[in-house]
Symmetry: C2
């Protein structure tokens, strides 16, 4: 390709430095289905509807992305008031704004150089906000947390990227291998593609509610050792796209496995507030690891959190943190150096995080409204999670594990052979064919399972559980009609 390029470019009058042949090959191969062809087509259809083009539906329902506010969820007043005051401190004089909001805003401003959120934050995060994260983690887990282990990020993405960057190195002449569940959240595969790191796929057991089983981890790592050097394991809990919540025992087993195989654990815990099943509880990897004692409490761990999910759903703010423990001190210095050089998280994103980790306490003026708004969101999400799975499980050819947490369902569709044949004849994988038909006929956009990974020969899709109840009812009705007619057509 290189030679082709040079010959071509030296003769061409439109020579380019960047051609498809000279582009970063990692960028070429990376895929991100959550914003992939289906999402793009959904936006096109929206524009077609606006132009008056007739469709069998009046509105696109975007169930392909975990974008709470876009689906009508209302922002939490307390969070937004804090943001408004730190942006324009003159609001400290506004009697409409509660005193606890003002107190928090002043605390943040005092921790910003020049009393302005426009000054550069320390790239590890604004001091007082990092301290509030420390308290939040301690309260959540009942274990100490070191300020020095907490770093703020512009959303979970930057935290995940910064941690994975550390592993971009050959060991024993082999590229690094990072274990990652299948199905997975495709940010991981995109980063692995970009950086030519090997994704070591371990399959979750769909038949046992997407359980994470140790023999499968062992199979995956043994296979992988032939071609890469396993360095870390990514666990998403609560699961995305799968919605399961790991038990404490399961987490213990993963920590043991990581210890035995000398793996760093990257715990993606951004859905820690989103637990709907009364029999489930969120345990952080940090808590379990601490309580396991020696030698497991020395395993390297990064726990990632975000402002984008939970009850707040503040995706546009780009706030988040990582707690990174048990790093070799020299490595930690290098990690910090890389953050100093390459990252500066938005101060407003951090202020949003502050409002989440340091919410109003009982007795403070914002407490009542805050609690009411928070509970309303979480209760409604729990109801919707059940609505979605109940509908799917009542349809022929669909089975769906319960949505115990997070905000997605990942049902399996048993497509008739004729549908699979039809998909193949169109050069599409069956899940892509199904979801495209769904979108074109109903306006519902979901992501084909292949975007997250699925066992060969199976077909799934991911839908969020986010449309508000009335919209969700309508969506599930449209879905039911589509599915029944699809199944009848290809029977």
């Amino acid at each position: 390709m290189g030679t082709y390029y040079r010959t071509f470019s030296s003769k061409s009058s439109n020579k380019k430095s960047l051609t498809i042949d000279t582009l970063n090959p990692g960028i070429k191969i990376l895929e991100y289905a959550v914003r992939g062809p289906i999402a793009i087509r959904a936006s096109e259809i929206e524009k077609e509807l606006q132009k008056g083009i007739k469709k069998p539906f009046n509105e696109v329902i975007k169930a392909h992305i975990g974008d709470c506010h876009a689906m009508g969820q209302t922002p939490i007043t307390f969070i937004r008031q804090v943001l408004a005051v730190v942006s324009w401190p003159k609001l400290l004089d506004n009697p409409e704004i509660p005193s606890d909001v003002k107190f928090r805003a002043v605390e943040i401003l005092r921790s910003c150089a020049g009393y302005s959120i426009g000054s550069y934050p320390c790239p590890l995060g604004v001091d007082v906000i990092r301290n509030h994260v420390v308290c939040y983690i301690e309260k959540r887990d009942g274990h100490p947390c070191n300020l020095d282990d907490v770093v703020l990020h512009a959303g979970a993405k930057d935290g995940i990227q910064a941690v994975l960057d550390l592993f971009d190195a050959d060991v024993d002449g082999k590229r690094p291998g990072i274990m990652c569940s299948i199905p997975q959240y495709p940010l991981y595969s995109a980063i692995f593609s970009k950086q030519n790191m090997t994704m070591i796929k371990y399959y979750l057991n769909e038949d046992k509610n997407w359980s994470l089983e140790i023999p499968e981890l062992e199979r995956a790592i043994e296979d992988a050792k032939k071609t890469c050097y396993p360095r870390a394991i990514v666990v998403i809990n609560p699961g995305n796209p799968t919605g399961q919540v790991l038990t404490r025992e399961n987490i213990e087993a993963v920590i043991k496995f990581a210890y035995e195989n000398n793996l760093f654990i990257l715990a993606d815990e951004v859905y820690q507030h989103n637990i709907y099943d009364k029999n489930c509880k969120f345990f952080s990897f940090k808590k379990v690891l601490m309580e396991m004692g020696e030698p497991y409490n020395k395993v390297e761990l990064a726990s990632i959190m975000s402002t984008s999910k939970g009850y707040m759903g503040e995706c546009g703010m780009r706030g988040g943190y990582s707690e990174v423990i048990n790093l070799d001190p020299d490595v930690k210095a290098m990690f910090f150096k890389s953050l100093y050089a390459l990252y500066t998280p938005s101060v407003l994103g951090q202020a949003c995080l502050d409002a989440i980790v340091n919410p109003p306490e009982l007795g403070e003026p914002s407490y009542e409204l805050f609690s009411k708004e928070k509970e309303a969101v979480l209760q409604s999400l729990a109801i919707r999670a059940k609505m979605v799975t109940d509908t799917f499980n009542n349809l022929e050819g669909i089975s769906c594990n319960p949505v115990q947490g997070a905000m997605y369902a990942f049902p399996k569709i048993n497509l008739p052979p004729k549908a699979i044949e039809k998909a193949r004849s169109l050069g599409q994988s069956p899940d892509v064919f199904y979801t495209r038909q769904l979108l074109e006929e109903t306006g519902i956009s979901v992501v084909p399972g292949s975007g997250f990974g699925q066992k060969p020969g199976t077909n799934h899709f991911r839908t969020t559980t986010l449309p508000l109840p009335e919209k969700l009812t309508e969506m599930l009705q449209r879905f039911k009609e589509f599915h029944e007619s699809f199944m009848a057509k290809y029977k």
Copy 2:
């Protein structure tokens, strides 16, 4: 190293996945002097002062980083009001907030899904804000700008990283080479280190006011071709750390050079509002390239802009854009795909950018205050730029080119041989020795020239011109005393 690691780790009870030997080598070698040892020491000294430790000064003056608000610059009211209203739209009812602020806030909210800045923006940027950037560029240059060429970023950093990521590829078996001025802004060298890309250094001519000379570009590229494949050229205009403003003729010559050598131009134009010399004018690379006509108007170009500099100095907001023109359409699709997968700029950072590219017009209620605040900052910056260079040029052993633009001076210090000897005996480079002494004795933190690159055998430092006039006067007085005593000591 790999073998050592395995032997070590299998025997150790404290085995780590990440050790200094198995860490990304790019992270290991990268340096970022702007937040390097001097900056860290400055913060330590600040804490020592707070603890009551006696120093020959009462306060650290942080002149090592272009952090306007930290140095006491006041935020622009209009910008902050827009941010407050989009954060908490209930402020639309507040009679204290001018109608043009409200109009802009509503425009932004309408362009956000669910009327909330908490929803995910399109990763290319919120539609209406991208459109305002288009108008801003067209007004600035007098040439058309395509919406499809404008992408919003979380600060200049993310834009630079996203563009440079495209080049991370071997061509003809050679690593990519990116031409970059010396002195340079060390974000560039940090990214090159991290990604093992070659920095092709071209030296600016200090004797001719840091001019960018084509024979030097030719020398640099010819030398580099032996070891890498030159792909792009970075030009920072106005200059950081050097403060010069390129002439139109100079820009034309660079564009010709880029065309002839098939190079992509990355124009770092974040200081486009910071022009102080009445004989200088900012010309964007885009404008000059358009006016040169065929074939030069087909050169690939990315122009980067930020909310952090100019009169606004909103570093903490992380807002910015890039205009990327003449990309091969296939490459552009891949660029967009990489943004979709890996980047999501903060909506509030974008809202801040919106207020800058779409400021109040004559006749609007915010116009007068906005103009007054903006002009006050720019006029004061011009005065301070002159104060700094005048002081330096009146000192023995220091020479400093005029600060025509940006917000830094990069004076040369002709250190006496005894000082150089002393530095060597301490294992420090002479510029580091000088700036460390300066910090310990006066509390003034500046960055040694080696952090940006300088001709071998010369010594410089970078200082911002940002301390407010009274503080700057004090700083320059402290500096003068230090320098004179230093020179006397090592005469």
